[in-house]
């Protein structure tokens, strides 16, 4: 493999990182919002979220991306490949994150909530001061798991012409008729990217491990 080819893979890695990061930044809070709606059994919205989660979890990312990129513009909203990619990754991961947040909320100690209620905390204050500081720690392994899956599913967005790692590798393979070496290098890059996320998770767990244990 030539240096130029390697550089193009690195460039692809940058694209993967930026788009995955944006997808995570969209999907994690959105998932929390959806999870709260389900947890709080908000009338009307809750069943809608349920269907959303079911449908999006089962839609392959490639399909979702094609639909967003080609179908939404026919409704008169113009959408670029980057926007479509971020939407694809974010909307998809939000569905999975909704379930992760929800199971965290379901397992949240009713005793502590009751204490907070009896101390006069309003729902918003309870969420901000009591629930969330503990919830994110409990959900972190699940969320990071999902982040790794998101990065891995990101090659799907190549269908709209975004050149991320896998696409860059494919291009090199198509030029040289020898797809294996670029694929191997790409795999190495993925491992490096994802190890960073998993490592950050481990680090956070260790930092907060002691305070996070149940009383």
């Amino acid at each position: 493999m030539t240096t130029a080819a390697f550089l193009s893979l690195l460039q692809g890695a940058g694209v993967t990182l930026v788009l995955s990061g944006a997808g995570i930044a969209l999907g994690v809070p959105l998932g929390l919002l959806l999870g709260l709606i389900r947890w709080g059994r908000v009338p009307v919205l809750s069943p809608i979220v349920m269907v959303y989660v079911s449908l999006l979890r089962s839609t392959p990312a490639v399909t979702l991306c094609l639909l967003i990129f080609f179908a939404i513009p026919t409704m008169g909203i113009d959408i670029g490949p980057w926007t479509a990619s971020v939407l694809t990754l974010g909307l998809n991961t939000a569905a999975f994150n909704c379930e992760i947040w929800r199971s965290g909320l379901n397992n949240f100690s009713p005793d502590q909530l009751e204490a907070a209620r009896s101390f006069g905390m309003t729902p918003a204050l309870r969420f901000r001061r009591i629930i969330f500081p503990q919830l994110w720690r409990a959900c972190l392994p699940g969320l990071v798991n999902e982040m790794t899956l998101l990065i891995k599913s990101s090659p799907a967005i190549a269908v709209v012409g975004v050149v991320e790692i896998t696409r860059a590798a494919t291009r090199i393979g198509a030029q040289t008729y020898d797809p294996l070496p670029p694929m191997l290098v790409a795999t190495g890059i993925y491992i490096v990217l994802i190890v960073v996320f998993v490592g950050l998770q481990r680090l956070t767990e260790r930092l907060y491990g002691q305070a996070g244990a149940a009383a």
Binding site: S54, L55, R57, S58, T59, P60, V62, T63, L66, L67, F70, A71, F96, E99, S103, P141, G142, N145, T148, L149, I151, K152, P155, T166, P179, L180, M183, L184, A186, T187, Y190, I191, I194, V195, V198
Partner: protein
């Protein structure tokens, strides 16, 4: 659009064939991943530190490799080591190895929270080895982990779609072949999504049933 769906309908037999292959891959892959994942979970919970660290390392590595790459390497990479698997074997191999890691990690996380009490009682009553696992520990893990195992089963169903790259004729393969051959851009994919959705709802229904079972015991 209706014409497009007509075209898809005409070739429904190809979708059905793809669907069957997807189901076979999912069933075989998921069963093996659950089975081997249980064994790996035992290693992850081993009292021996080296065993724990090594199995943890392998599980983490699998979670870092994209599934697509794993499938690709199993199919195109292993031959250079002299191991020439056909696309079905390579695909299944990738599904099993990859999901075993996730399943094992899921079961470990539940196992940790299981509480020592019931396991200690079992030991005190003379349970050990395989019986301790099959009678006391894993039934409780499966009851508690059903939502997460369900999540992973859905991942397996969707992972099978990646096997199209190594020419395993599953559902997505059939859909994309219909779409580009007869040029029905959305209809074929929408049909595929609906079929995938139906499959995932089967999984969700299963999770629902197990969750009810768990709830009466909780």
């Amino acid at each position: 659009m209706t014409r497009d769906f007509g075209v898809v309908w005409e070739h429904a037999d190809r979708l059905v064939e793809g669907l069957l292959n997807t189901i076979i891959l999912t069933l075989v892959g998921a069963s093996l991943a659950l089975l081997i994942g249980s064994l790996v979970a035992i290693l992850l919970m081993s009292s021996s530190r080296p065993v724990r660290l090594i199995s943890q390392g392998i599980v983490d590595l699998m979670r870092c490799i994209p599934f697509l790459m794993l499938a690709y390497l199993a199919y195109y990479g292993l031959p250079s080591l002299g191991l020439n698997l056909d696309n079905w074997t390579a695909g299944l191999f990738a599904i099993v190895v990859y999901n075993t890691a996730y399943m094992a990690e899921i079961m470990r996380s539940i196992w940790i929270g299981l509480g020592r009490e019931s396991i200690e009682a079992a030991t005190a009553f003379g349970f050990r080895g395989p019986r301790l696992y099959t009678r006391i520990i894993f039934p409780q893990i499966f009851l508690a982990a059903s939502p997460m195992i369900g999540n992973q089963l859905i991942q397996i169903i969707k992972d099978t779609a990646f096997l199209t790259i190594i020419a395993v004729p599953e559902l997505t393969h059939a859909a994309s072949s219909i779409q580009s051959q007869y040029f029905v851009p959305f209809a074929a994919f929408i049909a595929a999504v609906l079929i995938y959705w139906a499959l995932c709802m089967l999984v969700e229904a299963g999770v629902f049933v197990v969750e009810r079972l768990a709830e009466v015991r909780r």
